[in-house]
């Protein structure tokens, strides 16, 4: 169990550095996104990855599940996918004369919901409800989902044909939304030379065990957020409500999400306190999908988030 290293504030070395490095060996040149994904998991949130097909979304999900010692299932969302295909069905066993529940892929610790915006809203909301409640109710029987339970949903950019964009209220269920983007030149070169990243992800060893994760999550929630830091988060939320670039500001729930994501970020840096830096680092991933730009495009633009950060002095 990696303890909190008594390291200098300015010299970051965190308890999960070796895990992040191992993931970085598989998903090349995406250290920041890996860190965001892990922070999202440690903060107990779900992750939405939005990007073009083929940039490594699935590989990332695979690698994380392997490294964290979690079991993993993948659902390819299509327009004819039904809620039961995710949650599971009860079937009648004639020999025993009873109904037996066949759990769906949602009963895994890591669920990769691939191309979630290809499914119909009804199917989407079945998954999203499961995410929110951490349980599913089938035929009057409530079944708990495993703990930890971590959904990584991927989504193609909404302008692609045949998609049902997630409504705002459901986007809010994802703690973070990240983009992977094309790898940079050197990383892409390495990728082309090595090849077969998916297989390498499958062979990764478990660096921590699933059972340790609740304890780590508890540690994360204990990371200290001092009064000035909370002032800062509040000032950012208020500024988002004043800012004319957005149709509306951040909700109180978004504020809580921001704070817990910042805690996880701080913990990954091996700190016992949240700094304004952590808030600034996670703000784009936490806030962009919760804000609507007045410019018409659904999501707030990255520049607007930068402007938002620059409009709030550090208290």
């Amino acid at each position: 169990m990696p303890g909190t290293t008594k390291s200098s504030l300015t010299n970051r070395s965190g308890p999960l550095d070796h895990l992040l490095a191992a993931a970085g060996n598989v998903i090349l040149g995406k250290d920041r996104e890996i860190r965001q994904a892990v922070a999202c998991l440690l903060a107990g949130g779900h992750l939405l990855i939005e990007d073009l097909p083929g940039v490594g979304k699935t590989t990332l999900a695979h690698a994380l599940a392997r490294l964290l010692g979690l079991d993993f299932s993948r659902v390819q969302f299509t327009s004819d996918l039904l809620p039961a295909d995710i949650i599971g069905v009860s079937i009648y066993e004639r020999e025993k004369g009873v109904f037996r529940f066949l759990p769906g892929p949602v009963f895994s610790q890591v669920v990769l919901a691939d191309e979630i915006n290809r499914a119909t809203p009804k199917t989407q909301s079945a998954l999203l409800e499961a995410m929110e409640e951490q349980q599913v109710t089938i035929e009057g029987e409530t079944r708990r989902l495993p703990n930890p339970f971590f959904v990584i949903a991927t989504q193609n950019p909404a302008h692609q044909i045949g998609t049902f964009p997630l409504p705002e209220s459901q986007l809010d269920r994802f703690l973070m939304r990240i983009e992977l983007g094309y790898p940079e030149r050197s990383a892409e070169r390495a990728l082309l030379a090595a090849g077969g990243q998916r297989e390498r992800a499958d062979q990764l060893p478990a660096i921590i065990q699933a059972a340790e994760i609740p304890a780590i999550q508890a540690q994360v929630s204990q990371v200290h957020a001092a009064a000035p830091l909370i002032d800062y988060v509040q000032a950012l939320i208020e500024a988002s409500r004043q800012n004319t670039a957005f149709q509306h500001g951040l909700s109180p729930r978004a504020g809580l999400a921001l704070l817990s994501a910042a805690r996880a970020w701080a913990w990954l840096d091996g700190r016992q306190m949240v700094l304004p830096d952590d808030v600034q680092e996670v703000l784009p991933a936490v806030a962009r999908h919760r804000l609507r730009s007045v410019q018409g495009s659904a999501m707030a633009r990255a520049e607007d988030i930068t402007t938002l950060i620059r409009s709030v002095p550090i208290p």
Binding site: T10, A226, N243, A245, M273, V274, L275, Q280, S311, I314
Partner: protein, 646 residues
């Protein structure tokens, strides 16, 4: 954190910049040539269309061509690029053209600076209350654009405007102090453009048929008078302008005469009054007939016209005194009397014939005068603004055919008859009557009160005023021009309004304007001296005023600073020490943005100033530990770390 291209203009500012450009230029449309207004309007519309459609702005070459063309247009119109009108036209066009070039933050700053400058130019044309209010509002708008451009604290439009308004309000006390205390000098501070005081309409030095009737169409105020006692009766209110003695058959002009002072014999007590004359580009003061012999401050011509040495090219105030019962120039010189008998030869034979018959009937000039007046009252003469055109023998045509005319027709005809009958006579131009504003008690004399009358010289009585108009239309003297003319005459609507309510409103507005003129615009060196002597400082010189100004502004600034200091956000000791540290590193040209975190700053210092890095890192760690960690921090450690900063 990525940095956006910081120089490109934030598109959300653009509506603000358009509004500022429009508000600072629009009032110039009131006095600019129409084509300039249309051109500027077209450029505004084009720029707005480009912006609304999100089109590309025109290229550099098109802009250069436009600038050259507009300059050429201004040059053709005004024959210069300098001076008041041409200069303002250039500024307005450049403001409009700048909208086609709004690409960067810098362009927007140029536009805003131009906007602040354009604000001033409006005072060349008007210093009235509406102008002042409009410019205060416009200044607030330009300031709001400036705030928006710099990503000010508020981002909703109303909040931005409120913030700009607050800034303007905060500037007002300073403005007042400057207004009262800034040393006043007579005349402008610096050379105003040649054309800054353009001709304004008013009584002219010549009189021909129709010239006074033209003036009567204007309800503009010529001057205002405040009497120290009661206002004299209306039929005594003759305000004397130029006296015209030479006649060429059509036009009356003053004669060039050696200027010897008149001999005035006062028959009543002098009346004192203060007259505020609007700019009229003339020298005469329009004193009430006749100026008191005691009036020594101004030159009085032998024709009784009071003049100043300088042309009145801006509103000016004069203290005058007059006697309404008087005799003057009883011993008029022979050349003057002879001059006032001259008539152009061979013109107006019928009039001369008539006058000759009067002279033969009696040699008493008084009888001749009465015969002429009886002619006007007896025959069907009409007092009207719409006089028919007259031929070469104008007086004959008027007396025997048209018989329709305004005061200049009657005065001219009367004087011609008198001269032909051997009575020295001349035409006097000026104003008659006036309207008392019940709100402030000032007597208002408008251009429409312009009048012409005659005076004849009678042995033993000197020059005597005879007003033929009084005979033709007695109500002209009693009730003013509006009551003397028939309905349907083209008088300005302002004068013919019968509604009491509208009239009251107009009186009040004119009284407010008058107070503004007297108190605010009329705050000249004398007024300033008066104010200070009332406060117990006799004759303050400019050095005294300047130091007082500096002192008051200093105290005001200190008071504001003290207030801000008292209401500053309270900070905890760690934060105060952190600010000290920031000041220390600022000496090494490291400045922290307000949004920059201590760690980000530390990383920057590490790269940009490696020599500071170790010491500063210690400071940052100590500060963060105190401010953000769960355990209470050690202030002493932070203080020591700061002390070690180079």
């Amino acid at each position: 954190m990525s940095t956006p291209a910081s120089l490109s203009l934030d598109h959300r500012c653009t509506p603000w910049l358009f509004a500022a450009a429009l508000a600072t230029t629009a009032p110039h449309a009131l006095h600019q040539p129409v084509w300039l207004t249309l051109l500027a309007g077209a450029i505004f519309t084009y720029a707005g269309w480009l912006w609304a459609r999100n089109e590309r702005l025109p290229g550099r070459w098109l802009l250069i061509v436009l600038v050259v063309l507009t300059c050429a247009g201004v040059m053709l119109e005004f024959r210069t690029l300098l001076g008041r009108d041409a200069g303002v036209a250039m500024l307005v066009l450049f403001m409009a053209l700048k909208l086609l070039e709004l690409r960067s933050q810098r362009d927007a700053m140029v536009l805003i600076t131009l906007g602040y400058f354009l604000l001033l130019t409006h005072y060349f044309y008007s210093q009235s209350i509406p102008t002042g209010l409009w410019l205060i509002l416009t200044m607030t708008l330009v300031t709001a654009a400036l705030i928006r451009l710099n990503g000010g604290p508020a981002s909703k439009p109303v909040a931005t405007l409120r913030y700009a308004g607050l800034l303007t309000m905060q500037a007002l006390p300073f403005m007042l102090v400057f207004y009262v205390l800034f040393p006043r000098i007579s005349g402008p501070l610096w050379g105003l453009p040649q054309d800054a005081h353009k001709a304004s309409s008013g009584l002219s030095e010549q009189m021909s048929p129709g010239s006074i009737a033209d003036l009567a169409l204007s309800s503009a105020i010529a001057f205002r008078v405040r009497f120290d006692g009661d206002i004299p009766p209306r039929d005594k209110l003759y305000w004397r302008g130029p006296v015209m003695e030479s006649f060429d058959g059509r036009t009356w002009r003053p004669a060039d005469s050696a200027n010897q002072p008149p001999v005035i014999e006062a028959l009543s007590k002098p009346i004192t009054y203060e007259s505020t004359i609007e700019a009229n580009q003339q020298r005469w003061l329009l004193a009430l007939d006749a100026p008191s012999p005691a009036l020594k401050e101004f030159a009085i011509k032998s024709t009784l016209t009071v003049t100043t040495p300088q042309i009145i090219n801006q509103r000016a105030r004069f203290a005058l005194s007059s006697v309404t019962d008087y005799r003057y120039n009883v011993d008029e010189t022979e050349p003057v009397l002879r001059r006032n008998l001259l008539l152009p030869a061979n013109l107006n034979p019928r009039s001369r014939e008539l006058a000759e018959s009067w002279r033969q009937a009696s040699d008493n000039p008084m009888l001749t005068v009465n015969k002429a007046l009886a002619l006007f009252s007896g025959e069907a003469f009409t007092y009207t603004l719409q006089a028919p055109l007259l031929g070469e023998n104008g007086i004959d045509d008027f007396l025997f055919q048209t018989r329709r005319g305004f005061c200049e027709h009657y005065a001219a005809a009367f004087v011609v008859l008198m001269r032909a009958a051997g009575v020295p006579a001349r035409v006097v131009g000026g104003y008659q009557g006036g309207e008392r504003n019940p709100v402030d008690g000032f007597l208002i004399i408008r251009q429409s009160d312009a009048h012409a009358w005659a005076e004849v010289w009678l042995a033993g009585q000197g020059w005597v005023r005879v007003d033929p108009t009084a005979v033709v239309s007695p109500s002209r003297l009693e009730g003013g021009i509006a009551s003397a003319l028939a309905d349907g005459e083209p008088l300005p609507a302002l004068l013919t309004v019968r509604s009491e309510w509208v009239r009251g409103l107009r009186y009040r507005w004119e009284a407010i304007n008058n107070a503004w003129n007297q108190q605010v615009l009329g705050y000249n060196p004398e007024r300033q001296r008066e104010l200070f002597s009332r406060l117990g400082v006799a004759n303050p010189d400019w050095k005294y005023l300047t130091s007082l100004l500096a002192a008051v502004i200093g105290v005001l600034t200190l008071a504001v600073a003290a207030w801000t200091f008292y209401h500053r956000p309270r900070s905890d000791p760690a934060q105060r020490l952190w600010r000290q540290a920031l000041k220390r590193i600022a000496r090494r040209q490291v400045s922290a943005a307000p949004w920059e975190t201590p760690l980000a700053l530390q990383r920057r210092v590490e790269i940009e100033h490696p020599e500071l890095a170790t010491a500063f890192t210690t400071v940052v760690e100590a500060y963060l530990a105190i401010r953000y960690s769960a355990t209470p921090g050690d202030l002493r450690q932070l203080r020591e770390a700061i002390a070690k900063l180079p």
